[in-house]
Symmetry: C2
Subunit: 215 residues, 2 copies
C-alpha cells in the first residue's frame, strides 16, 4: 500500500512527523514524502525537511496524509498541490489531514457536506468549504479522516493504521513509539485551558506565524 505525505513550505513539523513515525517502518506500507516540487522544505518553525519527489511523480496513493501549518495562505496558493489533492483525494482509500491540513482538503473540494476537525483556532474556517466543524480529536467521515491540532496527528495515524493493517499492528506501533502520554499539565484542549492561557497561546502562534518567510 502506498502512503503519500503531502509536504510544502511552511508546514508544521510535528503535523508531518507524528503520523510519519506511526506509518513508516512497516513492511506493508511504502511511504513517500512528496511536494509540488521535490527538495528541501522549510517548516513554519524553521526546520528543513526534504520532499523526496514531486507529487506528479509520486506513486498512486492508497493513503494520503496532509499536515497543517500556521500559515495556510502558503499552501492554499500552491495550485499544483490543491489540484493533486482534488484529483487523488476522492479515489484514495483514505485521505487524511492533521490540524489546518483540513483547510487544504476543503480547498480541494473534499470536505463538502462532511464533518471534519482541525486546530481549535481554525475550526470555523472549515465552514467556507461546506464542512461541518466537529469537536472530536479524530473525525472519520467517508474516506476522509481529519485530526485536531498538531499532536492529534499521532492519534489519527494510529486510528488509520488500525483500519488498514489491523488493531494488533497499531497496538505494536503504539508500543514501539512508547505512546503512553503523560502531559504534565491539563491544558491541551480549548475546553480545558484557562482564558489567559488561550490568549497567550493565540499570541505565541500568531507571532511565530508572522515570522515565517517563504523561500
Amino acid at each position: 500500500m502506498n502512503v503519500v505525505f503531502v509536504l510544502y513550505e511552511a508546514m508544521t513539523a510535528l503535523d508531518l512527523v507524528g503520523p510519519y513515525q506511526v506509518l513508516s517502518g512497516l513492511p506493508d506500507l511504502r511511504v513517500t514524502l512528496a511536494a509540488s516540487e521535490s527538495g528541501p522544505k522549510r517548516t513554519d518553525s524553521g526546520m528543513i525537511i526534504h520532499a523526496e519527489c514531486a507529487l506528479r511523480d509520486a506513486p498512486e496513493p492508497d493513503l494520503i496524509v496532509v499536515p497543517g501549518t500556521g500559515r495556510p495562505d502558503v499552501p492554499l496558493a500552491d495550485a499544483a498541490l490543491i489540484a493533486w489533492l482534488r484529483e487523488n483525494g476522492p479515489r484514495a482509500r483514505w485521505t487524511c489531514s492533521v490540524c489546518t491540513g483540513a483547510l487544504l482538503l476543503g480547498a480541494a473540494g473534499l470536505l463538502t457536506g462532511r464533518r471534519a476537525t482541525t486546530h481549535w483556532l481554525a475550526r470555523e474556517a472549515l465552514r467556507q468549504f461546506g464542512a461541518e466543524p466537529a469537536h472530536e480529536r479524530v473525525v472519520v467521515d467517508g474516506n476522509v479522516i481529519s485530526a485536531a491540532g498538531v499532536s492529534a496527528g499521532i492519534d489519527m495515524a494510529l486510528t488509520l493504521l488500525s483500519r488498514v493493517s489491523g488493531e494488533n499492528t497499531a497496538r505494536a506501533v503504539q508500543l514501539g513509539i512508547e505512546y503512553d502520554p503523560q502531559p504534565p499539565f491539563d491544558s491541551g484542549s480549548a475546553d480545558a485551558a484557562a482564558p489567559q492561557i488561550m490568549e497567550l497561546a493565540t499570541r505565541l502562534l500568531s507571532d511565530a506565524a508572522a515570522k515565517f518567510k517563504p523561500s
Copy 2:
C-alpha cells in the same frame, strides 16, 4: 537562552520533532539544529532533516536535547558528537535525552550515578554507563532530564519548558499544539501491552533498524 538539538544520521524523527515543536517558536529560546557536520541527516525511517550547523559552530548551549535512534551504534561511533556532549553536557543548564538518546549521554559520562530512563527495550543498557534505569516517563536528576521512548519527548519538553519559561508558557504551548492525547488503544507502555504485542513491536523495531543504511 540557547537550545541546541543534537542531530545525527539514524536519529528517530519523532524523538527530535516532538521536543522541537514544543521549544521552537518561543521568543526567549533560540533553537539550533546541530550535528558533527552540518547538512542533511537521514533518520532511521528515511526522512531527511537538515542540521543547520556543525556542533563546533553551535552557540554555547543553555539547553541540550539529544534524540534517540533505533541504531545506537551509529551515533555511539561518532566521536565528535560524544566529545561535544562530554564537554557541554555538564555545564548546560539542562541536558536532555529522548529514548535511546540516553545512551549517548551515558557514553559521554553524564549519567554516572544518576537515575535515568530510555526506551523500554534499552532500559537495562543504561547500567553499562553507571546509570540506574528508572521506569518513569520523564526523569529529572541533577541537570539531566531523560524521557522514555520516542513520543515521551513531548512530555519531557513540556516539563523542561515549564522549568525554564514558567508553567503558563508551557501550558500555552501545550494548547498551541493541542496536546490533549487520546490514543485509540491502551498499548503504549511495556507494562500495559500484551505479550504478543510486545513480541510484534520488538520484531517491527528490529526489522526497521536492520534496514537502515548509513550514508
